[in-house]
């Protein structure tokens, strides 16, 4: 071999040995190692703090003999709830403020709040932390000049009366004085008793119900589906993405499964994991709330207009495992909940999700179609007719409000009426059930 060839070969061998040494030194990750180490804790967003998880179902403001209702998303709603939530968080020792007497004659009701689901109180919660554990179903604020009292309707116990600290009393009185009602916030009170409708029909009202007064005008909305990062979503459900297989359905829907859990993307998101990985344990109400919020945040996030509307243990028969919960959220547009095939429903336990349906929409644009809503009496009459056709003779009204209903990428205004324990949805103008909904 010539000296020149030897030199070249030696140079190449030295170069190769450097390359191989580098590979060995800095490590060479094999495809298998990548697959095995595929787990990375991924989520859409950090869980919301408890203080931001629950909003009142309704806030009613009273003044000049009238009742006004402010709805989620309304600046007045945020103002009043911000102040009241702050007050409940700041009152560390509610025992100091218990008012031993009855409310003074001159005190007037100025604010009323309803919570559904209930607001947790006590050491685990952020509200009235020094109080024993409880769940707040409603709260009323009464005032006499700058003095304010709070009536707490705590679930399964007698109402508690608190004389609020002077600085909070003054702040709430100030907010109440500054409140300028809008025309669409006016409500009409349906007092307990018998409400006569035309043609002899009558409806019983057992507790005061406030319904939107007059003939409000509501915008019809055009919606678009929420867009989620599919890969990120998959990683939040499946620990090892490499073991997930894809099934493309004929209608364009996509199913992902690892054989134990499955997720379908099509008309929203459906997830199911029927086999529990751990034995469920009973959670306190606050812990169940926090778990629901964490799971929603992790698996898709909690959009600003999404409100938790119910949280309760799953119906348990003797054989079903304990510690399973069900939570439901609705999207709110212009202060009204979006009913129909939309929202979020999940069944879960402390160890994770069992089932999850998420079908959320965002506002695309306002159609410009302003819908003059039919009077509540007409709507109630139409609802009564539906039940009367089924042979019902006695009618008890439990709830009545306006809402949106999702149909064909549109949100149309509807009346939501609960009569005799049944929910009825009627288009706000035609007063007939919307397409796709059956009474």
């Amino acid at each position: 071999m010539s000296e020149r060839a030897k030199s070249v070969l030696l140079f190449l061998l030295v170069l190769l040995s450097i390359l191989l040494t580098c590979q060995l030194w800095f490590g060479r990750q094999t495809a298998e190692e990548v697959a095995e180490n595929g787990y990375e804790p991924v989520y859409f967003e950090e869980p919301r703090p408890l203080a931001q998880m629950i909003l009142p179902e309704r806030i009613s403001i009273y003044g000049d003999g009238q009742c006004y209702r402010v709805r989620p998303g309304d600046p007045d709603f945020n103002l009043f709830w911000g102040a009241l939530s702050g007050m409940l968080q700041e009152i560390s020792e509610p025992g100091h403020y218990y008012y031993g007497e009855s409310l003074p004659q001159e005190a007037e009701l100025c604010l009323s709040l309803q919570f559904k689901p209930f607001l947790p109180l006590g050491p685990e919660s952020v509200w009235l932390k020094s109080r024993r554990s409880g769940e707040l179903a409603g709260m009323q604020i009464w005032r006499s000049a700058d003095r304010c009292w709070a009536v707490l309707e705590v679930n399964e116990s007698a109402a508690e009366l608190l004389l609020l600290p002077p600085q909070w009393g003054a702040q709430l009185a100030g907010l109440h004085d500054q409140f300028v009602p809008a025309a669409n916030q006016l409500c009409e009170e349906l007092a307990p008793g018998e409400l006569k409708l035309s043609r002899g029909a009558a409806v019983t009202v057992t507790a005061p119900i406030y319904v939107p007064a007059g003939e409000p005008v509501i915008d019809e909305l055009v919606l678009k589906p929420e867009l989620l990062d599919r890969e990120l979503l998959l990683k939040t459900f499946f620990i090892n993405r490499n073991l997930v297989r894809e099934i493309k359905e004929r209608d364009g829907g996509l199913i992902y499964t690892d054989g134990e859990q499955g997720m379908r993307l099509g008309n929203g998101l459906d997830y199911s994991h029927p086999r529990l990985e751990q034995k469920p344990v009973n959670l306190s109400y606050t812990a169940a709330l926090l778990t629901a919020g964490k799971l929603l945040g992790y698996h898709g996030g909690w959009p600003g207009n999404l409100r938790l509307v119910s949280l309760h243990p799953e119906d348990e028969d003797e054989d079903s495992p304990k510690g399973l919960y069900r939570a439901q959220w609705y999207s709110y547009f212009e202060g009204y909940p979006l009913l129909g095939d939309s929202g979020v429903v999940m069944s879960y336990y402390h160890g994770g999700l069992m089932s999850y349906r998420r079908s959320l929409y965002e506002l695309h644009y306002t159609s410009g179609n302003k819908v003059p809503v039919s009077d509540f009496q007409e709507a109630l009459k139409a609802a009564v007719m539906i039940l009367a056709d089924e042979g019902v003779e006695q009618f008890t009204l439990e709830e009545m409000d306006l809402a949106y209903y999702f149909t064909g990428m549109r949100a149309i205004p509807v009346w939501l009426i609960r009569l005799n324990g049944r929910e009825l949805i009627l288009k706000a103008v035609e007063l007939i059930p919307p397409e796709g909904w059956e009474p």
Binding site: E246, I247, E249, D258
Partner: protein, 289 residues
């Protein structure tokens, strides 16, 4: 020292060093095909566990390290036309319950199910042997295959798998083969009654060659067998496992396209199969659809 001699020594030294480095880096992969994943002792333990749980292994099991990937498949649409032409079945059909398309011909009826399954009912059946003749498996298989060949149903991508007898009925099971691996979800079933071929069921899939970079090591057959005893529990009387193969399987979907996992298929002597996902060790099909 002579410079030329020094160069030669250095060349040998670096050659040796590079070989050593290559072995350190790639040795495992180079030796992989020869590697046996389950040692003799481990295998003895598996056999013991099987025996304790009432399972008798009557087949050889692949003990080497195997790799595989998900296999993307879609229902095959080509067989229908072949069948229709061979049996002179008109193209017109009626739709029956469950969206089944029914094609009526003189020699055969063809049913096409929405998922892609075809069933050809022969009118009348085709006698392979005399009604009361007793034939062993090989004879029945060879006669059936001759019939399939003569009628354009001898599909290149299928292979005889097993035969199940139940009273007067005999079913010959063929599985689809893709690149040497069985696709247990793709099959042909020849249904015989009293040695007469009555019907043929065909469900074939169109697989796409998986990408090599998606390949992962599968669990060894020994672990799959242990999983089988865990998942099915002890068996009394003992059950005989007559085949153990690595292939692909998923349940049938009425879908456009889907991915199938590699599975270890254990065939019992009564014709029942148990599919263990070769990535997760879970029983297939178990899906949350």
């Amino acid at each position: 020292m002579n410079l030329s001699r020094a160069k030669t020594i250095l060349i040998y030294a670096f050659l040796g060093l590079n070989l050593f480095l290559c072995f350190q880096l790639f040795g495992e992969e180079l030796l992989n095909p020869l590697r046996v994943r389950v040692s003799r002792n481990e295998w003895r333990y598996v056999e013991e566990q099987l025996a304790n749980n009432g399972y008798i292994l009557e087949t050889k099991v692949d003990r080497s390290v195997r790799k595989s990937a998900f296999l993307t498949v879609s229902p095959s649409a080509t067989v229908k036309e072949t069948v229709r032409k061979h049996f002179n079945i008109p193209a017109t059909f009626t739709t029956g319950p469950g969206e089944v398309h029914l094609y009526m011909g003189r020699e055969a009826q063809l049913r096409v199910y929405p998922g892609g399954l075809l069933r050809v009912d022969l009118t009348p059946g085709f006698p392979l042997l005399q009604e009361r003749a007793v034939a062993d498996e090989t004879v029945l298989v060879s006669l059936t295959e001759r019939y399939l060949q003569e009628n354009g149903l001898a599909l290149a991508e299928i292979r005889f798998d097993h035969l199940v007898r139940s009273g007067k009925k005999t079913v010959l099971h063929y599985v689809q083969i893709f690149e040497g691996m069985p696709l247990f979800s793709g099959y042909l079933k020849a249904i015989l009654e009293n040695n007469t071929l009555m019907a043929v069921e065909i469900y074939l899939l169109e697989p796409e060659t998986p990408l090599e970079e998606r390949e992962m090591e599968v669990i060894p057959a020994a672990r799959a067998l242990l999983r089988l005893t865990e998942l099915l529990g002890p068996s009394a009387p003992p059950r005989r496992i007559v085949k153990a193969d690595l292939g692909f399987y998923s349940r049938e979907y009425d879908a456009e396209k889907w991915e199938m996992p590699p599975v270890w298929r254990f065939l019992f002597d009564n014709g029942e199969s148990c599919f263990i996902n070769a990535f997760t060790g879970n029983l297939e099909p178990e899906t949350s659809n």
